[in-house]
C-alpha cells in the first residue's frame, strides 16, 4: 500500500510556523521530518511518523505554491487562492525576507550578480546555512535591489511599500541595497569584527546625510547613490591637514577643550595629527569609486585601530570626536563649515558604532 496522493486544503490556509522555518532554512522534507521528530512532537501529540511525513509534505507544497506570491508580497495580499489572515500574511512575508546574520555578512557590499551566486556554494559550506536558504536570501536581496534600484523617494519607504516589510526589516534591506549599490568592502579580515548591525547603522546615517535624497527629497534621485557633488566638495576639507597652521590650531583647540577630561589625553595629543589626517584624507579620497568602496577599511585602519591600540575607552572616543568636529567651527580660516558638518556628523556616528572589539 503506497500513498499516491495525499493532500489537505483548508479554506483558511494552515501555516505551521515551525515547518515554515524548516522550509525557509532549506531542509528537505526528509530532514525536516527528522528534525521535527527530534523536537519531540510525536510524543506531545501522539502522532506517528507517517502522519508527520504527510503533514510536512503538505506544508512544503503549500509554501512552494506561496513562494511565487512571496516574490511580490502585494500579490499575496490581493490574490484570491489562499485565504490567509492578515497577521499570518505579515508573518509569512517577514519570515521569508528575514536573513541570517552570517549570510548577510558574507555578501554585504558585494555585487548581486550571477558571479556571486556561484560563490553561494562556498558561503553555504562556510556558514553551515543550507544552499537553498542561501539562494533564497540572495535572491531576496537581488529582487529588492532590482525593484527599488530605479525608484525615487525614500529607500526605506519604497522597500516597505513594495515588499510590505516591517520597518526594522525594511531598514536592513535599505542598508543591504545601499551597500550593494556602492560596493562597500566589508569582507576584509580587519572588518570581520563588525556585525551587520554596525554596517546597517552606518548605512542609515549615510543614506540620511550623504545621498542626494538627503539634501532634497523632491529631487529626481534616489537614496541609493551618494551625492557626487558632495563627494567632490569633500576635497576642500583637505586644507584642514594640508595647512599646517590650521592643523595646529585645530589640535590646540581640541586639546584645550579636552584637557583633564580624557583618560587617554596624552595618547590623543600625540596621535592627533595622524588621526586628523586619516579622517580628512578619507574624505578627500571619496571622489574615487575605489576609495568609496574602501571607506570602512580606511576608517578602521586610520582611526579605529590606532585608538584601540591605545586602549581608548568609548567615552573618550565620543568626547574626542565631538570636540574634534566642533572645534572646526572656531577655525576662522576654514570656510567649509556646512560641508564639514555634513561629513563629520555622519562619520562621527559611524565611528562610534564601529569602535568596539
Amino acid at each position: 500500500m503506497t500513498s499516491e496522493l495525499d493532500i489537505f486544503v483548508g479554506n483558511t490556509t494552515l501555516i505551521d510556523e515551525d515547518v515554515y522555518r524548516l522550509w525557509l532554512d532549506g531542509y528537505s522534507v526528509t530532514d525536516a521530518v527528522a528534525l521535527r521528530v527530534r523536537s519531540g512532537i510525536l510524543e506531545q501529540t501522539g502522532a506517528t511518523a507517517a502522519v508527520l511525513q504527510s503533514d510536512t509534505m503538505d506544508h512544503y507544497r503549500t509554501f512552494h505554491m506561496l513562494e511565487r506570491l512571496l516574490h511580490a508580497p502585494p500579490k499575496l495580499l490581493h490574490q484570491l487562492i489562499f485565504q490567509i489572515p492578515p497577521s499570518r500574511q505579515a508573518l509569512l512575508i517577514e519570515r521569508y525576507y528575514a536573513f541570517d546574520e552570517a549570510f548577510v555578512r558574507e555578501v554585504l557590499g558585494k555585487k548581486l550578480s550571477k558571479g556571486t551566486k556561484k560563490d553561494l556554494d562556498d558561503i553555504s559550506t562556510k556558514t553551515g546555512i543550507t544552499l537553498k536558504s542561501c539562494r533564497r536570501q540572495f535572491d531576496n536581496f537581488k529582487r529588492v535591489f532590482k525593484v527599488v534600484e530605479e525608484m525615487r523617494g525614500s529607500l526605506v519607504d519604497n522597500i516597505q511599500q513594495h515588499f510590505l516589510l516591517s520597518d526594522r526589516l525594511a531598514r536592513d534591506y535599505a542598508a543591504i541595497v545601499f551597500f550593494a549599490n556602492n560596493r562597500f568592502e566589508t569582507g576584509k579580515k580587519k572588518l570581520q569584527y563588525l556585525s551587520f548591525g554596525d554596517f546597517a547603522f552606518c548605512a542609515e546615517l549615510m543614506i540620511q546625510n550623504w545621498t542626494l535624497g538627503a539634501v532634497d527629497s523632491q529631487m529626481d534621485d534616489m537614496d541609493m547613490d551618494l551625492d557626487k557633488e558632495f563627494l567632490q566638495d569633500l576635497k576642500e576639507l583637505k586644507v584642514l591637514v594640508a595647512d599646517k597652521d590650521l592643523l595646529d590650531l585645530h589640535k590646540s583647540l581640541v586639546c584645550t577643550a579636552l584637557r583633564g577630561k580624557l583618560g587617554v589625553f596624552s595618547e590623543m595629543e600625540a596621535n592627533f595629527k595622524n588621526l586628523s589626517r586619516g579622517l580628512v584624507n578619507v574624505a578627500a579620497k571619496l571622489t574615487h569609486n575605489k576609495d568609496v568602496r574602501d571607506l570602512f577599511v580606511d576608517l578602521v585602519e586610520k582611526f579605529v585601530e590606532p585608538c584601540r591600540s591605545d586602549h581608548w575607552p568609548l567615552s573618550d572616543v565620543r568626547f574626542f570626536l565631538s570636540q574634534y568636529a566642533a572645534s572646526v567651527h572656531s577655525l576662522d580660516g576654514f570656510r567649509h563649515q556646512t560641508l564639514w558638518d555634513r561629513y563629520m556628523g555622519t562619520l562621527r556616528g559611524c565611528l562610534l558604532r564601529l569602535y568596539h572589539d
Partner: protein, 1064 residues
C-alpha cells in the same frame, strides 16, 4: 422580453504575461450570454488593464436567464495570429432573479483556464432588470428560492412543507463525442463545463416549475448531482423538498424576531427544532427485502436491509386515539403525494412525530444503451423533456433513468410502510458507476410526521408549541411508530426511559440530525464501518449479477460493524447514517459513517461478548478471555471518554421489559435450509442481550481486532458527521473547513479480502489521524459534518475524499440554561418513574419472542414475482441462505449481565451559542501594520447550515459550480498531489469570489459533491472534475449584532473589491 441583463467589465489584474517579447499582455474581454456576444476594447500592454467598459445589455427570456450562465472570456489580442484565450469566468445569474437575494453581482473573479488554472482576476459588475409582472414570473420559475441547507433556513419560517421534488436531465457527454478526437482538451473541457452549467440551470428551472405547481416558493435541501456515465451520457439529477417559506422579519429587524439568544438558537438550524421528545429507541433488526426487477434489458434490484427502530406504536394508552387521529391526518396529507419524501435532516418543532428507522434500497443497472431491447417497454408515462441538443435517440434516456429512480423510490416507500411510517425524512440518493455498471442507492429514515405542516392553508403560524403540548414529551420521536403486535421485524422493546409510557426500541438508527430537544447523555462520536470485497472482473450481466450478489453481504457486514462499534462506544443510537457502496473493476467498497450518541430515552446498550468455538482448548480459552477483557476495558474507557453516565435507575423501577431471558442459543442453519428459517435470524440486540461475537475463524478474529484498532481521537478532539456534536454546545467562533484527499495504490499481488480491509481501514484511520494532527492548534475542537467519499478510479487505486469543518469550543464555559433544563427533565422523568411503578411491563415481554417475522421471505417472494430474469432471481435466493447461515454463526442472543448505570453529569444538546470575544472578526480587523491595505474580504465556508457565534441575516442564493482541470505537465506541477492541491485551492477561491461578489461573507451547507480524479503518469497527464455547492449568505457576528442593529444593517457586503461604480 422579460429581462435585461447588464454587464460591465471594469478591470483586470495579475494577468499572465502573454507576449514574451514585451513581458506584457494586450487583453480584451468577450462577454457572452446565449448567442449574443459583446467585446471590450483591447487594453494594450498591461497586466492590470482598466477597461471600464460601457454596460453591455442583453435582452433575454427569463427561461434563458435561468438556464444560461454568463460567460466572460479574457483574451490576448494578437494582430497576426489567432487571439489567445487567457481564461474564462462563468457567472450564474440565478441569485439575481429572486427578489430578496442579491441585487448586484460585483467583484473580482478569478479568471480560470482548464489547462492553466487561475490566471489573474477580472472585476465585473452584473445586474438584471426584470420588467415583468408577477404572473410572468410564475410561468418561468424565476423567484423560487433554492437552498442546499437541509433544514428550514434560519431567517425563514416554514408555512407549509410540500414535499419531494425531483427532476433529471440527460445529455451526451461532450468528452465522448466524435468531435472530441479533433478538438483540443481545453475546448472539450470547456464544452463540458458549459454543458453541465446549462443542464444545471435547466434542471433548477424545471424543479422550480414543479414547486410552483405545488404552490410552494422554495426548495430546501436541494441536492444536485451528476452521473458521468461515459459513453452512455451525462445525467444531471436533483432532489429537494418544496416548501412555502415566509421571511421571518425584515432584515433590519432580525433581532426582534428572537429576543433572547437561547430562543434564537432554537430557530437556527444549529438546533434543529426536532420533534418533541427525547426518548429514542432503536432496534436494529435487519429487515431484508429483496426484489429484482427488470427495467431495461438488465437490472437487479438488490435485497435491501432496513435498519429500523422500533417505536412505541399504539401502546400508549392515552396517546392511542390521538395518535390514530394524527396518523389518519398525516396519511391523508401524504397520500396525495407520489413519494412522501423529505430531503430535510432537521425539522421545525413538532414536525417529526416518530422515527421508525433507516430504510434503504439499492439497485444494480447496466448502462449499456445500445443493446437494449427492453428499452421501449417502459415509456408509458411519458413526460416532456426538453433536450439540449444533439441526438434524438437520447431523448429516451430521461424516461429510462426516471423509471430507475421511481422504482427505487417505490421500494423505499414500501419499506417505510412496513415500518408503520408514512414518510421518509433525511432522504438522499446516490450512484456509483464503474464502466457500464451503475449502482443506484437511496436511503432515508422512515418517520411519522405531523400533518400540520403538510397541508395547504391549514397552518396558521402556530409553529410554536401549541399542538406539541398535547403530544407526548420530548422523547416522542424515539417511540415506535409501528404496531407492537405486528412488528415488521423482531425487536426488543422497552418502555421509554424518559416518559415511561411508550415503547422504544433498544437501538435507533437514522439518517437525520439529532433533534435539538432530544436528551443525550454524554458526547457523541463518529462511528464508521469500513468494508471491502473483492470481486471477479466480469462483463455486463455477469458483472451486475456478481455485484448484486455481493451487496447483501456487504450491507449485512456494514450493519454488524456499526452495531459492534456502537456497543463498543457504549451508545445506543446513530444519527446521520450514510452508507456508501462504491463499485470498482475488481472490488466493492462499503463505507458507513454516522454519529453515535447515547439517547437518554433508550435502554442502556448491552456489552459485547466473545464466544470461542472450541471451549476445551485451554490456551484458546485464555485468549478469548483476554480478548473479552480488552473489549470490556474499551467499553469502559469509551464511556468515560464520552462522558456516558446514565442516571442510575434501579431495575425495579424500570420493570423488566425484556422477556424471559432466552437461553443462550445458537442459531444454526445450513445452506439448504429454506428461507423460512431466515426469518428466525434475529439481529436485534435487546437491552438485556449482549452482543456475542463468536470467534470461529480467522475472519471473525480479524473483525474483533479491527473493532479494537479504531483509535479514539486525541484528547481535546471530537468528531461527528452530523451538524452539531451531541453534548457540545458552547462553540466559539473559529472555524476551519477543509478537504483532504488520499489515494493509495494497492499492491496487486494476491489481494485478499482481509488485506484489502486492512488497507482500507488504515487509509481511513490514518487520514483521520492526520486531520487531528493538522488541526491540533484548534484544540479543544470538534470535527463536524465529517463526510467521507470513496471512489475507485482504477484497478488498484482507492481514493478517499473527506470534507469537514473543525469548530473550536470552550471547554470551561458552563451552561446554566442547559443544566437547569436537564435537571427539569430529570425531575420529570423521575416522577414518571414513580407513576409507572405499578405497571409490570408485560406487554413487552409477551410480544417479543412471539415474532417469527418473515421479512426476508416476504421480500423474496415479492422478488420472485417481480423478477423477469430467472438468473438474477436464482442468484439472490442462493445468496440468501448462505447469508443467513453466516449471520447465525456470528451472532446470537443471550442474556445480558446486570448493567451498570452510574449517576453522573448530564449534558444535552440544547445549545446556547456564545459569541466568543476572540472571533476572527477581530482577527480580521486587527491591522497587521504592513498588510493593512488588504482588499480581499474573508469568506467563510462550512458544510454546516450555521456559523457559530454569528447570525445569518440573508440568503443570497445557491452556489453550484462545476470545474474541470487538466494538465499535460503533471510532474512540473508537483505531481498528482501538487496538481490536485492547487486545483482544490482554486475551487475554494472561485467559490469565495462568487460569494463575495454577491455581497456575501460565507457559504453554508457547502458540499463537494464530486471529485473525480484521473491520472496517467506515463503520459504526464491528469484530469480532475469537481462539483461543489452551497448557500451564499450574509452573516453578522453576534458580538457585532448590537452595533449593527442600531445602525441598520446595511453594511453587509463588506467583501468585494469594487468600490463606487456599483451604484449605476
Amino acid at each position: 422580453m422579460p429581462g435585461k441583463l447588464k454587464v460591465k467589465i471594469v478591470a483586470g489584474r495579475h494577468l499572465p504575461v502573454m507576449d514574451r517579447a514585451s513581458d506584457l499582455t494586450d487583453a480584451f474581454v468577450e462577454v457572452k450570454f446565449g448567442n449574443t456576444t459583446f467585446k471590450t476594447d483591447v487594453y494594450l500592454k498591461s497586466l492590470n488593464p482598466q477597461w471600464n467598459s460601457e454596460w453591455f445589455k442583453f435582452e433575454v427570456d427569463d427561461e434563458d436567464l435561468q438556464d444560461e450562465p454568463l460567460q466572460i472570456t479574457v483574451l490576448d489580442h494578437d494582430t497576426y495570429s489567432a487571439n489567445d484565450a487567457i481564461g474564462k469566468v462563468y457567472i450564474d445569474i440565478d441569485p439575481l432573479l429572486y427578489s430578496e437575494a442579491a441585487t448586484v453581482i460585483s467583484g473580482w473573479f478569478p479568471i480560470y483556464d482548464t489547462i492553466h488554472g487561475i490566471r489573474g482576476e477580472i472585476n465585473v459588475v452584473v445586474k438584471v432588470d426584470l420588467f415583468n409582472d408577477l404572473n410572468r414570473f410564475r410561468q418561468s420559475s424565476c423567484g423560487v428560492k433554492f437552498f442546499c441547507t437541509t433544514s428550514i433556513p434560519k431567517c425563514y419560517r416554514a408555512v407549509i412543507i410540500h414535499g419531494f421534488v425531483e427532476e433529471l436531465v440527460v445529455n451526451e457527454d461532450p468528452e465522448y463525442q466524435w468531435i472530441d478526437r479533433i478538438r483540443t482538451p481545453r475546448a472539450s473541457n470547456e464544452a463540458r463545463q458549459r454543458l453541465i452549467s446549462l443542464m444545471s440551470g435547466e434542471l433548477q428551472r424545471k424543479i422550480g416549475l414543479k414547486v410552483l405547481e405545488m404552490r410552494g416558493n422554495a426548495v430546501v435541501g436541494y441536492l444536485q448531482c451528476f452521473d458521468l456515465e461515459g459513453e452512455s451520457g451525462l445525467v444531471v439529477r436533483a432532489i429537494g423538498t418544496a416548501c412555502t417559506l415566509d421571511k421571518l422579519s425584515s432584515p433590519a429587524a432580525f433581532l426582534p424576531a428572537c429576543n433572547s439568544p437561547s430562543k434564537e438558537m432554537k430557530e437556527s438550524p444549529l438546533v434543529h427544532p426536532p420533534s418533541h421528545g427525547c426518548r429514542s429507541t432503536h432496534n436494529s433488526p435487519i429487515h431484508t427485502a429483496t426484489g429484482s426487477r427488470l427495467t431495461q434489458n438488465f437490472s437487479v434490484s438488490v435485497p435491501t436491509l432496513i435498519y429500523t427502530g422500533m417505536g412505541s406504536g399504539s401502546a400508549g394508552k392515552e396517546g392511542g386515539p390521538f395518535k390514530a387521529l394524527l396518523r389518519q391526518q398525516t396519511q391523508s396529507a401524504l397520500e396525495q403525494r407520489e413519494f412522501p419524501f423529505f430531503t430535510l435532516t432537521a425539522f421545525p418543532p413538532g414536525f417529526l412525530v416518530h422515527v421508525g428507522g433507516v430504510v434503504s434500497a439499492r439497485s444494480v443497472k447496466l448502462l449499456d444503451r445500445i443493446h437494449n431491447p427492453a428499452f421501449v417497454g417502459i415509456m408509458g408515462n411519458t413526460r416532456s423533456y426538453k433536450l439540449l441538443d444533439w441526438n434524438s435517440f437520447n431523448s429516451d434516456e430521461p424516461e429510462t433513468r426516471d423509471a430507475w429512480w421511481a422504482e427505487i423510490r417505490q421500494e423505499i416507500k414500501s419499506h417505510a410502510k412496513a415500518l408503520g411510517c408514512h414518510a421518509v425524512v433525511g432522504y438522499s440518493e446516490s450512484t456509483s458507476i464503474c464502466e457500464e455498471v451503475c449502482i443506484l442507492s437511496a436511503s432515508g429514515t422512515a418517520a411519522v410526521l405531523n400533518p400540520r405542516f403538510l397541508q395547504d392553508g391549514t397552518v396558521e403560524g402556530c409553529l410554536e408549541q401549541r399542538l406539541e403540548e398535547n403530544l407526548p414529551t420530548r422523547c416522542g420521536f424515539c417511540h415506535i411508530p409501528y404496531d407492537e403486535l405486528n412488528m415488521p421485524f423482531p425487536a426488543h422493546l422497552t418502555y421509554c426511559y424518559n416518559c415511561r409510557k411508550q415503547k422504544v426500541p433498544d437501538v435507533l438508527f437514522t439518517t437525520i440530525d439529532l433533534p435539538t430537544d432530544a436528551t443525550v447523555i454524554g458526547k457523541g462520536c463518529l462511528i464508521q464501518a469500513r468494508l471491502c470485497r473483492l470481486k471477479k472482473k466480469a462483463q455486463a450481466e455477469a458483472n451486475a449479477t456478481a455485484i448484486s450478489n455481493l451487496l447483501p453481504f456487504m450491507e449485512y457486514e456494514v450493519h454488524t460493524q456499526l452495531m459492534n462499534k456502537l456497543k463498543l462506544k457504549g451508545m445506543n443510537a446513530l444519527f446521520g447514517l450514510r452508507i456508501q457502496i462504491t463499485v470498482g473493476e475488481n472490488m466493492l467498497m462499503g463505507l458507513a459513517s454516522a454519529t453515535g450518541v447515547y439517547l437518554a430515552a433508550l435502554p442502556t446498550p448491552g456489552g459485547i461478548q466473545i464466544a470461542g468455538k472450541t471451549p476445551n482448548d485451554g490456551s484458546y480459552e485464555q485468549h478469548i478471555s483476554h480478548m473479552q477483557k480488552k473489549i470490556n476495558d474499551t467499553i469502559a474507557k469509551n464511556k468515560e471518554l464520552y462522558e456516558i453516565n446514565p442516571p442510575e435507575i434501579s431495575e425495579e423501577i424500570i420493570g423488566s421489559p425484556i422477556p424471559e431471558p432466552r437461553q443462550r442459543s445458537r442459531l444454526l442453519r445450513s445452506q439448504s435450509e429454506s428461507s423460512d428459517e431466515v426469518t428466525e435470524l434475529d439481529l436485534s440486540h435487546g437491552k438485556k442481550d449482549a452482543f456475542v461475537l463468536e470467534i470461529d475463524d480467522t475472519d471473525a478474529m480479524e473483525d474483533v481486532h479491527s473493532l479494537l484498532t479504531d483509535v479514539p481521537p486525541p484528547s481535546g478532539f471530537y468528531s461527528c458527521n452530523t451538524e452539531i456534536m451531541p453534548g457540545i454546545n458552547n462553540w466559539t467562533s473559529e472555524i476551519q473547513m477543509f478537504t483532504s484527499v488520499r489515494v493509495i495504490r494497492l499492491s496487486s499481488l494476491n489481494l485478499t479480502n482481509q488485506a484489502l480491509n486492512k488497507n482500507f481501514n488504515d487509509l481511513c484511520e490514518n487520514l483521520l489521524k492526520s486531520l487531528y494532527f493538522k488541526l491540533r492548534s484548534m484544540i479543544p475542537c470538534c470535527l463536524c459534518h465529517v463526510n467521507f467519499t470513496v471512489s475507485l478510479p482504477e484497478d488498484e487505486l482507492i481514493q478517499v475524499t473527506v470534507t469537514a469543518v473543525a469548530i473550536t469550543f470552550d471547554k470551561n464555559q458552563a451552561l446554566q440554561t442547559t443544566k437547569t433544563h436537564v435537571e427539569k427533565s430529570l425531575q420529570r422523568a423521575s416522577t414518571d418513574n414513580e407513576e409507572l411503578l405499578q405497571f409490570p411491563l408485560e406487554l413487552c415481554s409477551d410480544s417479543l419472542p412471539s415474532h417469527p417475522l418473515p421479512p426476508a421471505k416476504e421480500h423474496l417472494e415479492s422478488a420472485s414475482s417481480n423478477s423477469g430474469i430467472p438468473a438474477a432471481q436464482r442468484a439472490t435466493s442462493v445468496d440468501y441462505s448462505s447469508f443467513a447461515d453466516r449471520c447465525s454463526s456470528w451472532i446470537e442472543l443471550i442474556k445480558l449481565k446486570a448493567q451498570t448505570i452510574r449517576r453522573g453529569s448530564i449534558k444535552t444538546t440544547v445549545t446556547v451559542e456564545k459569541a466568543s470575544p476572540v472571533g476572527d472578526g477581530n482577527f480580521r480587523n486587527r491591522p497587521a501594520p504592513p498588510c493593512a491595505n488588504s482588499t480581499v474580504g474573508v469568506v467563510k465556508m462550512t458544510p454546516l447550515s450555521f456559523i457559530p457565534g454569528a447570525k445569518i441575516t440573508k440568503y443570497l442564493g445557491i452556489i453550484n459550480m462545476f470545474f474541470i482541470r487538466e494538465t499535460t505537465s503533471l510532474r512540473e506541477e508537483g505531481g498528482v498531489s501538487g496538481f490536485l492541491h492547487a486545483f482544490i485551492a482554486e475551487v475554494f477561491a472561485m467559490v469565495r469570489a462568487h460569494v463575495a461578489a454577491l455581497g456575501g461573507n460565507a457559504v453554508v451547507s457547502y458540499i463537494m459533491k464530486q471529485c473525480v480524479f484521473m491520472e496517467n503518469p506515463n503520459k504526464n497527464q491528469a484530469q480532475c472534475l469537481i462539483n461543489v455547492s452551497g448557500d451564499a449568505v450574509v452573516f453578522v457576528r453576534e458580538s457585532d449584532l448590537e452595533v449593527v442593529s442600531t445602525q441598520q444593517p446595511t453594511a453587509n457586503c463588506q467583501s468585494s473589491g469594487t468600490e463606487g461604480e456599483v451604484t449605476t
